[in-house]
Symmetry: C2
Subunit: 327 residues, 2 copies
DNA sequence: CTGAAAGCGCTTACAG
DNA sequence: CTGAAAGCGCTTACAG
């Protein structure tokens, strides 16, 4: 009666409900799950990150809000593994190992094909945050949520060109797929306008040194003659590094150099001038993950299209027309 | 046999283990939990925050790592409530409502006595992140983890005094207990040296406007004659606001004004000069929460001391001796 | 419309 | 040392 909509005498129903209220009765979830063979819990696995960065914190927030609205809980787990380990030999965390802990998992962080394969082989329904999926040859239909960094990147470069910039540089380590995609959009826009590209794509040693990377990148790019009049940094931290170099060298932003980043971190509005960048609606990414996950649990085997969340160019004072030629 | 250490023929044991391996057998957690009446899951409740900020993301990371090491899982849930709602009328999220979902909860975010009371009345073991516990009259023994902001704050002010500063200002909204504690340490240090205090403690309208608050604070403080030679900002965002004002007005840091914050956010090293601040070892806060939680679940009723995690003064270039008097 | 029984997959005493 | 039984707290068919 408590669960179903049986035909029952309204009076009886009321009395039972009253007793429930009175005693503070709450059904035991494990007994229920044992018999129904279903779980309302979704695992959120953060892979290969030593801490929860603001981006993933935002995705997790979105995931939790969406899940709560659909009466699901979120089990948070981190997971570190080597890309080369064969799928069968991966040491999986309990979320991916124990029977019944979760009804499915959202794989966030940076993932590789071996983990995806291991999860698939165990029959655990899963959704992958696609932008950070590295080295995946064949596409993964049915289970990916992306944010669309290409469109905004293209728009960003097109806007710089429309302002009059011709020497537009790009900076970002190409081994990281997010930078590779942003660069591809940059190359495409530049090619469309028959403009020569200027790139700094050196390998990045430590994931924590984006700012230093940005300083080095702009330093190198400024050695060229003629120098770039605009820099599209692969992310905001790289942009902040470039900004610091300008600050030290007295290069005016946007007078001498227009600067744009990607991510819209909190600090984007704190530097002076505030940074033009691209915002990823992380809460929508999280929501999309949950919606796909719930749909997949409800209708197993039913095909679903991958989802792509649009991103938004956020225009701020760090860009403007290029300096007059020959100045 | 799988669970216990019974005396069994080694050969039989080996054969069973082999079969387990072969079939990929994993026990069903719900059946196990139903019979053992225990859960290895700990709830992490983020209260009254609309998103997971870097500080709490760090605590959550610490909590998850410590929990994983002790073979516990983390259920992440957010919870928004009004401080005035009577405990009995609070609408609790499933972690705090369902029977058996978790063995206990860590209450992070900003909490009020009504929630603490509701959780206690339901008999759910809990640990509270004490620094953000507001309006709690009687102390909560046995269940609090704090970070010690007083010692580092005092040390910070003492160091400024030792450098020769006499006019040291403080900025932070006193209704927020973390600012109140830092201010108390400031007042104490100033009193010890018989120095007059200079404060900006206006109410802060929006939690997202710390930077603007910092700009306003320093603006007001600089109207005084003589002006302060150092500012202890209640947190890094307020310090960044002050830094921006200095940047715009051409006030040199630390030549004209020494600046210090609290939190050691990522941006502390990105501003120029990098910011002297206080670092809270968030992972240790998280670990302490888990350790107390597990201890409390294992030995119910056993008294435990509250824990206080030391913080660390991080000296950077944003402070130095005061300008020569009368300059 | 209502009550009693079976069974979900385990663990834990207990009998062989 | 090993196997069979009882029972954790539910839900779901089924008999009354």
């Amino acid at each position: 009666m408590v669960n179903g909509h049986e035909r029952i005498l309204p009076r009886t129903r009321r009395r039972v409900m009253h007793a429930i209220e009175l005693l503070g009765y709450q059904p035991n979830v494990h007994a229920r799950r044992l018999v129904t063979q279903s779980v309302e819990t979704i695992g959120f696995v953060l892979s290969n990150r030593d801490f929860l960065n603001p981006f993933h914190a935002g995705v997790l927030t979105g995931v939790e809000h969406a899940a709560a609205a659909m009466r699901h809980e979120i089990l948070y787990a981190s997971c570190v593994y080597a890309p080369e380990t064969p799928a069968a030999e991966l040491e999986l965390p309990p979320v991916l190992r124990s029977r019944g802990l979760v009804g499915g998992v959202i794989l966030a962080g940076t993932n590789y094909p071996n983990l995806v394969r291991a999860v698939r082989e165990r029959g655990i329904p899963f959704i992958v945050f696609g932008n950070n999926l590295v080295r995946q040859r064949q596409s993964l239909p049915d289970c990916c949520v992306y944010y669309d960094d290409a469109s905004s990147s293209r728009e960003l470069v097109e806007r710089l060109i429309a302002m009059g910039h011709r020497r537009i540089a790009f900076a970002g380590d190409q081994r990281q797929p997010w930078f590779a995609r942003r660069r591809a959009a940059y190359l495409q826009a530049m090619a469309r306008h028959h403009l020569a590209t200027m790139e700094y794509t050196a390998a990045l040693d430590s994931p924590h040194s984006y700012v230093a990377y940005g300083e080095a990148a702009l330093g190198k790019l400024l050695e060229r003659h003629p120098a770039p009049t605009a820099l599209f940094a692969g992310n905001d931290n790289i942009a902040v590094g470039a900004w610091r170099l300008c600050h030290r060298r007295g290069i005016k932003i946007p007078g001498d150099l227009s600067l744009a980043g990607f991510d819209d971190l909190e600090m984007a509005v704190l530097i002076d001038p505030p940074l033009t960048t691209v915002r990823v609606p992380v809460d929508e990414v999280g929501r999309a993950c949950v919606e796909m996950m719930v749909e997949k649990i409800r209708r197993p085997g039913e095909p679903q299209a991958n989802r792509s969340i649009p991103t938004h160019l956020v225009e701020r004072a760090s860009w403007g027309p290029p300096p007059p030629e020959g100045a």
